[in-house]
């Protein structure tokens, strides 16, 4: 048994040094050298203030902004410090409640748009931090934003298109509209509010 202890101890210590210290340090060094912004969280700034990350979604509930998806993080939605999905099974009563609540909010904010709501806009993402909504979900909200911001829907369609992350290489993944970037652009391009609904 003792004959086995020496190699076991030495190798465990050596691999701890190699894979637990040197390897993460080497990756960190390389990452900070070549991809500093990405390695540090892809933070977005406005007027010198950090206002979020390109990759981490935020909650929007005002009628003037495009809304993100539902988020199941606690105690507030889009809590970056504690990612979480809802884990509702397809028949969980609370799933139906959440969907109904969201439909009511969307209808209240814009009673004129009556076509079916895209599914991603009424469901919670896996991480609770999804930075994207589908193009359909953005277009669905465009009439409301247009009225609120005094923009035309054509303006907004162009803006949505500019902030859509397309499929990688044209076929990998799904296209998604980055909500935070889109809303920041909205504040910049169409800052004026045309008042209530």
């Amino acid at each position: 048994m003792i004959a086995f202890l020496r190699p076991a101890l030495v190798l465990l210590l050596a691999f701890t040094a190699i894979t637990g210290v040197l390897y993460p340090l080497a990756v960190t060094g390389t990452a900070q050298l070549f991809f500093p912004s990405a390695a540090n969280g892809s933070v977005l700034e406005r007027n010198g203030t950090a206002v979020g990350s390109k990759l981490i979604g935020q909650q929007f509930s005002g009628a003037r902004y495009f809304w993100s998806r539902l988020s199941a993080t606690g105690p507030v939605p889009y809590n970056g410090a504690a990612s979480s999905g809802s884990n509702y099974g397809p028949m969980h009563p609370a799933l139906l409640e959440a969907v109904k609540g969201r439909i009511a909010q969307l209808r209240t904010a814009d009673s004129t748009t009556t076509r079916p709501i895209p599914v991603d806009l009424v469901t919670a993402s896996g991480s609770g931090l999804d930075p994207h909504i589908s193009v359909a979900a953005a277009l669905y909200q465009a009439p409301r934003i247009a009225r609120q911001r005094g923009a035309t829907e054509a303006d907004l369609r162009a803006l949505i298109d500019r902030h859509t992350d397309k499929r990688d290489f044209g076929f990998l993944g799904e296209p998604g509209v980055n909500v935070l970037e889109l809303n920041l652009a909205l504040d910049e391009k169409f800052p004026s509010s045309k008042g209530g609904m």
């Binding site: 020496r6 540090n40 892809s42 902004y65 509702y88 439909i103 895209p118 991603d120 991480s127």
Partner: protein, 580 residues
Amino acid sequence: MTGNGTVQIVFFLVALIALGLPLGAFMARVYKQERTFLDPILGPVERFLYRLAGIDAAKEMDWKGNAIALLVFNALGFLVVYGLQRLQHLLPLNPQAFGAVSPDSSFNTAVSFASNTNWQGYGGETTMSYLTQMLGLTVQNFVSAATGMAVLALFVRGLARHSTKLLGNFWIDLTRSTLYILLPLAFVFAVGLVSQGVVQNFAAYKTVTLVEPVVDANGVANLTQTLPMGPAASQIAIKQLGTNGGGFFNTNSAHPYENPTPLSNFFEMLAILLIPAGLCFTFGIMVKDTRQGWAVFAAMAAIMVPLLLLAAWSEQGGNPVLASQGIDQTASPNQPGGNMEGKEVRLGVTNSAIWAVATTAASNGSVNSMHDSFMPIGGAVTLFMMQLGEVVFGGVGSGLYGMLVFVIIAVFVAGLLVGRTPEYLGHKIEAFEIKMASLLILIMPLTVLGLTALALLSEAGRATIFNPGAHGFSEVLYAFTSMGNNNGSAFAGLGANTPFYNSWGGIAMLISRYWLAVPTLALAGSLAGKRFTPQGDGTLPTHTALFVGWLIAIVILVGALNFLPALALGPIVEHLHLTL
């Protein structure tokens, strides 16, 4: 399924074979101790380690020596991970000032990472210090994977050799797996992940000012958001490659900092299956008959692909409950559609389904969507993939040696049917081999079903079930199926960070890893000891399409027969409820 979905699935499978083949050939060189292009850099490191550890590189061991080495090494690893968690509040690199992890959770996590399961009862960004993540979890991600690969190398030598007791040297296979295979792959992959947006730093969590304040349930306005940081990419690369699966963040690869883009997702999915698939070809080369490796690969792929299509179809179909509310779940160029609860927009239904099936086929256990929110058929596929015993690709090393045990059973049953002495690769299959193989195949369902029953009969087991009805049963079945097969994924609604699930789950993981690894080595020792039996007229060829079909039938039959009743009580009932 959508046209684009089909393209993505086909591309994934083609890329897997295209990269698995050269990697398999490379790994064969590593285990045959032949020269590789990495020798100029890694050769001196390797020799230095052997000198330091007192390992004689020319000395081989029998199965018992190798089994003891494995157990001693893994026991030490367990102790280190346990100790780091219990003492992390006293140790450096803890910028969030996390306290000590509870004893039961520490036990569970230490077993989980040492046994290559990576079941996680805790949430990474709210529990573990950077030091624990690095010295404890990242290290085990490497060496637990290398342990599985070393056992496979020993097992394959048992199949390749005759009339000897010696299988090789566990220390050398462990060292070479880590240095030559896992470390270079992980480094390149980790840097690639950072380029896509995976964080890699030692900074404290960042605070940013929200564009629009969020009002919480008590009417208090939140003006800021916390962005978690840490050395994530280095851990994520190896957790994908080593079929570990333990996320840096709570929601694993659904988290945008863990899996930011479709491209990062593609490579993370590929990494799940890359080494397990490559090892099939390594096996073929080591037994000097590449057709044998292709046959095993073909059987694995032929089981996985139809189930993958079934899961993708089920998820794309959407949820009838939502359809009744007039929600648009139809896929179009503008939206992924389908069942989007628990899924990310950038990944959509297709990539969530590929990942879910790949991660449960291999015993990886990482997730990029919440399996608990899958449709009943999609969820049933993930359960079934694990219940096949993690032999369809399976864990690095462990999946293939599990599948080779099924090959031995298949040869034996075929031999019984035609009344010939069964042989595999020139070894007579006799009573001892079948005893060990039966042990290997029967322990898993006993553990999984036994503990599921225990959980359902006890107050402590039922107390933390989250979803009502049949789905709640599926959560418990999934938990023990996952831990009892060293997978690590979860129906995460179940509150698993309790003394009950931490303790019994820890025991399930111990059984499924070590109680299986030891008989596997015994089997290898027995096979290596046999005289070479030349092929005769009655020898069943094990590289033909006929044999592949037979092997699939044996694997499915054993898997299905054990678990069909349990599946009927869970996802099948749920599906009928939902659709009728």
